[in-house]
């Protein structure tokens, strides 16, 4: 096969792999059990989306998708931070309530 065909094939394979890793991460998200676990999974998925943008960009030659990747890299972690912070503060409050009780 020519190198171009090989590239096409590997792009396809990569796409499948990336999306597969999304699916796998989702399983953890599904299983949890702890809030932190889910946040980690979500974080992992966000990072993977960046990869997806890269692959699809190559597969379709659409530069614009790299902008999506850029934005995601910038703000993707905000959700993670917010949720982590929620967990932390909630636990803090629970502890507080326990003290009060």
């Amino acid at each position: 096969m020519t190198s171009a065909e090989f590239l096409a094939l590997s792009t396809y394979v990569t796409a499948v792999m990336v999306l597969l890793s999304l699916a796998i991460a989702f399983v953890r998200l599904f299983k949890g059990p702890s809030l932190a676990d889910r946040v980690v999974a979500l974080d992992q998925m966000t990072v993977t989306i960046i990869a997806v943008c890269g692959v699809v960009a190559i597969g379709t030659g659409v530069f614009a998708l790299l902008d999506v990747a850029l934005v995601l890299a910038l703000v993707g972690f905000l959700a993670t931070v917010a949720l982590a912070r929620f967990a932390e503060r909630r636990d803090a409050r629970q502890a507080q309530e326990d003290d009060d009780a």
């Binding site: 992992q44 990072v47 960046i50 850029l70 636990d91 629970q94």
Partner: protein
Amino acid sequence: MLDIVISIFLLLGGFFCVIASIGVLRLPDVLTRMHASTKAGVLGSSLILIGGAIYLQDTEITARVIATILFLMLTAPIGAHMIGRASIKNFKAKIED
């Protein structure tokens, strides 16, 4: 020739992405799982992006890819740190919400 290089970048990247996710799925506890996502995840995505940069051969794109990777390396550990913080504050990270 270049296509081969790109392909290698892509396949490696894809591989590490899968690894990261499997890690997040299989490793025993939150903290170890984070190792997987922060390291392999970032590397995987970065490799794929670099592959893209090489493929598209465009200054603007290259700059954007570099920026993306830097942002990623800046934010991913901070995210991990936040989660870690949350889970060590009281290591009973098992509490159901």
